[in-house]
């Protein structure tokens, strides 16, 4: 059965938007990536063994498109975190975001997939086509850097 755009968007939209945002750090580009990912999904209509496979495929596509866009845009600075994204009373969230934003892309993508999506380092390595030991070392370095910046006030274990 052919996938319906609204069904796919409602099911995976937030997840893919967050993946793209973790790379591109602005909503406009993240939206473009979400849209492009869904178009590729709907056009190629791949077959999946199960839902996990489908999700991993979508994340891989979104990650690759995001990294292509980073190269294309030559983004050096991210936009300011939209005030609407963080409730005023939780200004410490923007502090956390600033800390993550400062990490290199290779560490940021691992942090997002590990902490936000709950993937193991092995799954992350498979999706991003990276060496698992490099993924682990990036995760370790990111955690140490974040702990140092956030002075262990926040849970990044």
């Amino acid at each position: 059965m052919k996938a319906q755009p609204e069904v796919v968007l409602d099911k995976y939209g937030n997840m893919l938007l967050r993946v793209a945002y973790s790379y591109l750090q602005n909503m406009s580009d993240a939206e473009d990536i979400l849209q492009d990912t869904l178009i590729k999904y709907l056009k190629s209509a791949p077959e999946f063994e199960n839902e996990n496979h489908e999700k991993a495929w979508l994340i891989t596509v979104a990650s690759n498109l995001s990294k292509n866009k980073i190269r294309y845009n030559k983004i050096r600075e991210a936009d300011e975190l939209d005030e609407g994204l963080v409730a005023k009373k939780e200004e410490d969230l923007s502090f956390v975001w600033e800390a993550v934003k400062g990490l290199p892309v290779t560490q940021r993508e691992v942090v997002h997939l590990f902490y936000q999506e709950g993937y193991s380092t092995r799954d992350i390595a498979n999706m991003l086509e990276r060496n698992e030991s490099t993924v682990r070392s990036d995760l370790l370095r990111a955690r140490k850097q974040l702990k140092k910046i956030l002075k262990e006030e926040y849970d990044f274990e």
Binding site: P5, Q35, K43, N64, L85, D92, H112, R130, T134
Partner: protein, 178 residues
Amino acid sequence: MNKYNEVMDNIKVTEDMRSRILQNIEAELGKDGAEETVTEPVKKAKVVDYRRIIRIASTAAAVIVGAVILSNVMLRNTTDSSSYSAQVSEAEMFAVDKTEASFEAAGSEGAYAPVDECKTVNIDGVDVKFYGSDGLYYAAEWVIDGENYSAVSDNVDGVSLEEMKAIVAKNMEKVKNN
């Protein structure tokens, strides 16, 4: 739920975004003849950020040249959707840097987290640098015949020096046998 997750929870597809995306998808799929009615893509409202304009203007020449070169490269490399496979191993793969990560020496600044300890040990005639903190080591790097190698421990918090040396020795053996 940690703070990062809380930040991400605020990243959501809004109703406006949803409508826009669905309309644009319909327009895109319609181009392939899937739909008879062609819908004009919906353009996002642009909010003028003068600070961004100033930043862009200050590097405009370099960015324009780079964008032209990149756009030409991307157009040449664009892959027909019919060749896009579920494995995502072709088309639009980012040129992932396959080299193993290198580690900054103790006390230096850079893209990677600084480490507190860096010990050099000779293993089978090769000087291997071990990185860690608080007496535990989680990474090592060495060079053989101009090639850089590295290894990390399974335990992300680090292992004893002896255990790390064993990991390195195992890796060296694998390389020798390949």
